[in-house]
Homo-oligomer: 155 residues x 2
């Protein structure tokens, strides 16, 4: 069925981030829509951030475009230009290769919900985290000096 039964798609808050960077996304609950629907050329997640949660560590991608469509609730977009409030109906675009680290922070007292879509070759992707000693590639996470973290990147 093209109309997704979101409630029937498993929801998880799992992350591959090594400690202590995992704590900030413990309140990020998401459903992977592509495997549930047969999409193979894009990634898509239906995400709910509980109060206090971040969407990710602040990061950017070399090899993937990202688009966020806000559905409900309020969050703050944090990027190199500062802080921007976002709410229902807002659309956020993060082009591949634009070195502008970004994430969303739910500073409200209610959950917020959005759909995040990505496109590009995941196998050739890499990127950096703006605020912490971490980079990523298809194999997982490393420090900025190149030494690897043990945790694997989530599939």
């Amino acid at each position: 069925m093209p109309k997704l039964d979101l409630a029937a798609i498993p929801q998880t808050n799992v992350t591959g981030y090594p400690s202590p960077y995992d704590a900030a996304v413990a309140g990020r609950w998401y459903r992977r829509l592509a495997p549930a629907s047969g999409l193979t050329l894009m990634g898509a997640s239906h995400v709910t951030l509980l109060p206090g949660a971040f969407s990710s560590q602040r990061h950017w991608h070399r090899g993937q475009d990202e688009l966020v469509v806000m559905l409900a609730g309020e969050a703050v977009l944090i990027d190199d230009t500062g802080e921007t409030p976002v709410g229902p109906g807002d659309v956020l675009a993060f082009p591949a290769g634009e070195a502008n680290g970004h994430h969303l922070h739910n500073r409200s007292g209610e959950p917020c919900t959005f759909v995040a879509i990505s496109a590009g070759t995941r196998e050739a992707d890499s990127g950096e985290y703006s605020d912490i000693d971490m980079v990523f590639d298809a194999q997982g996470y490393a420090r900025k000096d190149g030494t690897r973290y043990a945790a694997a990147r989530t599939p």
Copy 2:
């Protein structure tokens, strides 16, 4: 700016559909988000359907995944399985190669708004229309016997 200023992005109802197939989408007003934001690996449109408008002629793609995120208003999804009402927060997924012709019809008395995202190689894409004598490829539109329509596919 990652948060798109939607009102500043030009809105159009242009279509490359040949007559008489263009009439059904005259009330489809859309903003192309990728050129406005620097995205190169996906397509994205912010679409408003006026009452009575269709999102497209009923079609499917061989080479592109499509995802629709409903933001406001009500529409009816029509595909090979029948008719399904959709509204704010609903997510619709149309995998590349799945020969299930689909479109949205606004049968309500108010506009409805959604974001439509596509990924895949547009140059290698093609597909068919379910209800009319038309197919498409990267060069434009043809009848099902292969003779071309004069109109060019919209960029």
